[in-house]
């Protein structure tokens, strides 16, 4: 039997207060990550009165995870009103509307700042085109609202256009956010790779996840500077079913497949993905959220069996 050549190093990333009073992730976690460069992560919950910022935000800042990649592919056994969805949303993850800079100007007037920089825009555009090239995707669409936000989205769009010049083998189009939303719910097959600033990315990536069946089956990857990449499932922590062997591992499993592909282990990735899709299509051992009443371990065992059969 072929075992995927991965050695796991588990690390706890609960925030601790470092020297100088700033919150940070534990240094051994950071060191492990810097060494191995690739991570797989489950859902993290930030307790409300924890006193420190969101855990996901902390991870993002520590490793400069600038691109959030979400491939949305229709799952054959899991029926939704939309079939044949096959697109990827690439979202700029560090700036934009989520810069967190807000002020109360006078009582009753609040100003939120949306930040768009040349560097971040260029970086995400370059990643999008690289991704398209490496994964044999034919087109990249920049999503923007440059008719209203002339300067900010205008800058983002200009950078995308500049980067597109260097990737003539990939088709580049630009489309307004509202047109994308309108067309996405009518005919999602017309889209391939979408690149966009933070807020539009947040909304669109969740919209696309909804098209294929929700966050329980959607993988996600975060690419950072210096070759760091953390793959994760984007659903919640579901404390009500934790520890009861009821959860659906599909999202995390597909994220792991993304991870394998990122590392170049396409063979293993494809095998596990095929096995997973086959199990769902068969409908014999599905977890509760997919419409069955099997346990998580039974679902996983079925997938493992199929992987062995595929060998």
């Amino acid at each position: 039997m072929d075992i995927a050549p991965i050695r796991w190093e588990e690390r706890n990333v609960t925030a601790i207060k470092g020297p100088g009073g700033r919150w940070m992730i534990p240094p051994d976690a950071k060191e492990s990550m810097d060494r191995s460069k690739i991570g797989l992560k489950g859902p993290l919950k930030t307790p409300i009165a924890a006193g420190h910022p969101s855990m996901n935000l902390l991870l993002r800042k520590t490793f400069d995870l600038y691109a959030n990649v979400r491939p949305c592919i229709s799952i054959e056994g899991y029926k939704t009103p939309y079939t044949d969805v096959n697109l990827v949303t690439i979202r700029e993850n560090t700036e934009g509307e989520y810069s967190g800079i807000e002020h109360v100007i006078v009582d009753g007037v609040v100003q939120s700042i949306k930040l768009i920089t040349e560097n971040a825009s260029r970086r995400i555009a370059e990643y999008a085109f690289e991704y398209a090239r490496n994964n044999q995707r034919s087109s990249v669409t920049a999503v923007h609202k440059a008719n209203i936000m002339r300067m900010s989205d205008g800058l983002f769009l200009r950078k995308c256009r500049e980067v597109a010049e260097n990737y003539k083998d990939v088709k580049f189009t630009e489309m307004y956010l509202d047109t994308v939303c309108l067309n996405m719910v009518q005919d999602p097959t017309q889209f391939d790779v979408l690149v966009m600033p933070n807020l539009y990315g947040d909304i669109l990536s969740d919209l696309c996840a909804g098209l294929i069946g929700g966050l329980g089956v959607t993988p996600s990857g975060n690419i950072g500077a210096n070759g760091v990449a953390i793959f994760e499932s984007v659903h919640g922590t579901a404390p009500d079913i934790a520890g009861m062997d009821l959860a659906n591992p599909t999202a995390l499993l597909l994220s792991a497949v993304m991870m394998l592909r990122h590392m170049g282990l396409h063979d293993y990735g494809n095998k596990i993905q095929t096995a997973c899709f086959d199990t769902i299509r068969d409908k014999k051992v599905l977890t509760k959220d997919l419409g069955g009443n099997s346990k998580c371990s039974e679902f996983t065992a079925d997938i493992c069996r199929r992987v062995q059969d595929l060998d």
Binding site: V110, L115, I116, R150, G210
Partner: protein, 396 residues
């Protein structure tokens, strides 16, 4: 309030028989009740009566770009055919010019007439960033604070989801569309999103009053207050304050990304939705797509003193302009909304019914709905149905 609407409904029954004599009585009766005007129906009555001379209304018409001019021509054709007592004052806005003279003329015309019907004005990317979107300028100058869109599944249109009936109320003047941007450091652009207490309270108040008026049970506020804690937090707080004054209507809130996910899987759960500007843009386009596309849904922009009607998704449709394939439904229904606003309810109903009959019974569909009809065929069908109902019409 009950007396006023009772008077109107009586006039509708009696008018056809009395042809106008009782109509005058009704008008006198109507004016003595105007002290209640500001507190009655929201969808137009707290706006001063629009320009009306000799029983005919004057409405500003802005053709816009793309498919706007041809669709608005069809609207005028149908109105002329049905003998609608509305005269259009056409104001052209040239989107290629950098000066704001054109749009200011249009705004003045709307101030004069009180009501407008418009196509979308294109915002060219080749212009410098100082040239702001003309449509946005129009909305903010006239303080058209509420954008109202009603998405309903139509029986004649094939869609993936059925039984959708959502009213979307979108704040139309501030938020991300404040057009306040600057570049302090080269390569770093800041764009300001402004949320104010006054405008948030105003739009929430509008939403709840409309919900009550239309007999709706639930209002959902769409926001992103977990990230934009101060901005969207303020909006949400204002909605909650207003909600406490309407105990008969359920109020809940939902984060915008979850909302879009729910919309594509279970859109039937939504009733009335209220939200700031950008999320309104996303949600209204998603809903328009769910019920059949941009060619079907009309939209209205209401302010305290003015009302402007257009298609809900505000597309210029450059790629299909002048090919006679655009769907005239949205613009015709926008015209009907305008007629309702002018209290010409009979004309509005007759045109609306004709449009729906063409869509649902005759199934004459344009290309965007998967059919082979042309724009003119649909318009001709609408006019034929209006004529067949026996009302006064011009020559076909």
């Amino acid at each position: 309030m009950a007396a006023h609407s009772a008077v109107l409904s009586v006039s509708k029954i009696i008018n056809p028989f009395w042809g106008g004599r009782l109509g005058n009585t009704v008008k006198v009766f109507g004016t003595t009740l105007t002290s209640h005007r500001n507190k009655t129906q929201l969808t137009g009555e707290n706006i001063p009566p629009p320009a009306k001379y000799g029983g005919r209304h004057t409405v500003t018409l802005i053709p816009g770009d793309g498919i706007g001019p041809e669709l608005l021509n069809h609207v005028r054709e149908v109105f002329r055919f049905s003998c609608v007592p509305v005269d259009f004052e056409v104001v052209h806005v040239n989107s290629a010019l950098e000066t704001e003279e054109d749009i200011n003329n249009a705004i003045t015309a709307i101030r004069r007439n009180g009501v407008a019907l418009k196509g979308n004005i294109e915002t060219k990317h080749t212009m410098p960033p100082s040239v702001k979107s003309r449509n946005n300028l129009l909305r903010t100058s006239l303080d058209l604070y509420a954008n109202v869109m009603h998405c309903q599944s139509l029986p004649g249109v094939q869609t993936r989801h059925q039984n959708i009936d959502i009213m979307i109320i979108r704040e139309n003047t501030e938020g991300e569309y404040s057009s306040l941007e600057h570049e302090n450091v080269p390569g770093v652009v800041e764009s300001l999103k402004i949320i104010t207490r006054n405008n948030s309270l105003r739009i929430a108040e509008y939403a709840f009053r409309l919900a009550r008026e239309k007999g709706r049970r639930r209002v959902t506020a769409v926001h992103k207050a977990n990230i934009m804690k101060l901005g969207d937090g303020l909006f949400l707080q204002c909605c909650r304050e207003v909600a406490s004054g309407y105990p008969d209507i359920t109020f809940d809130s939902m984060i915008v990304d979850n909302t879009t996910m729910q919309l594509v899987s279970k859109p039937q759960q939504f009733d009335v939705m209220v939200m700031p500007n950008l999320y309104g843009n996303v949600v209204s386009n998603v809903c328009a797509g769910l019920v059949g596309g941009p060619g079907l849904v009309p939209g209205a922009n209401y302010g305290r003193d003015y009302a402007v009607f257009e298609t809900a998704t505000r597309n210029t449709g450059k790629s299909i302009a002048e090919k006679n394939i655009a769907n005239p439904t949205a613009m015709l229904l926008a015209g009907c909304m305008m007629l309702d606003h002018l209290k010409l309810h009979d004309y509005a109903s007759s045109i609306r019914n004709a449009v729906f009959t063409t869509m649902n019974e005759n199934r004459l569909h344009t290309a965007d709905l998967g059919g082979q009809g042309t724009t003119s065929e649909v318009v001709q069908s609408v006019m034929r149905i209006i004529q067949s109902k026996g009302q006064l019409t011009a020559e076909l």
